[in-house]
């Protein structure tokens, strides 16, 4: 196909854009839209129950997470305290003294 002919075809096709007539929408569109609105209003209630369940699950998860975090934090803190006591005891040689008091 010659370049000229391709150009002509391209221009004819582009010109078609301006001559496209409006297609007619469904004549029963209004009733269908009202049907959809009513349906979404009905399912809105069901959705809120589902949403409430979702919120409840998320809340439980958050509580479990908080309890676990608190437990881990406490465990770490007491381990740190123990390490501090150990350091303190070592620094002042309290371990040997403790032996004296117990008569060992």
């Amino acid at each position: 196909m010659s370049e000229e002919r391709i150009d002509r075809e391209v221009e004819k096709t582009i010109d078609l854009l301006g001559s496209i007539k409006r297609a007619e929408a469904d004549p029963y569109l209004y009733n269908k839209v009202i049907g959809k609105i009513e349906e979404s209003a009905r399912s809105g209630g069901r959705l809120s129950v589902a949403a409430r369940l979702g919120y409840a699950c998320i809340s439980i998860l958050i509580i479990i997470n908080l309890i676990t975090s608190a437990y881990i934090y406490r465990a770490t803190e007491s381990a740190e305290d123990y390490a501090t006591y150990q350091d303190f005891a070592q620094e002042y040689n309290l371990n040997q003294d403790a032996g004296l008091y117990t008569g060992l």
């Binding site: 196909m1 002919r5 391709i6 150009d7 075809e9 391209v10 004819k12 096709t13 582009i14 078609l16 854009l17 301006g18 001559s19 496209i20 007539k21 409006r22 297609a23 007619e24 929408a25 469904d26 569109l29 209004y30 269908k32 839209v33 959809k36 609105i37 979404s40």
Partner: protein, 192 residues
Amino acid sequence: MQEEQLIDGLINKNEDAFRFLVDSFKDKVFNTCLSFLRNRHDAEDLTQDVFVEVHKSIGKFRREASLSTWIYKIAINKSLEYRRKQKRKKRFGHIMELTGFGKSAEADESVAFEHPGVELENKERGKILFKAMDELAENQRAALVLHEIEGLSYKEIAGVLETSLSSVESLIFRAKQNLRTKLRDIYEKQGI
């Protein structure tokens, strides 16, 4: 019915006002959706969704633009969203097919789309036109559809696409340039 009156009626959930709105805008919305989706059934479904959205969100309408601009904006956004969802679904289907978990993809109706507003003698040309338009960037395609098919002015398009007048001019210019390139490719491949 005056636009202000119509908007007040819609906000007050007046049935007559809503019926008037649907009757006045249904063809405009349907044609906009049809130009994007290239499938009559999907376009009808999406047109319903646009009016459901209008009914639901009319309270948020800030009367800065015209009602028509706002409705076109909803139609364009919903059409683009639908197209993206379709593309994602197609990609996922293709992956499932490759991995052997899915059936082979259904024939794509939009490939051979015939716009009902194209005259009989131009049906084939119309198919090629919509195929080429489908490959344009989203904003270029939106501007082209609104200007050439819906007959909106540059100013109105600027309102719908929330951009400047000069951007709309440039979008339409680039859309036509790209459309020419894509059409040329198609005709060269066809070898007519």
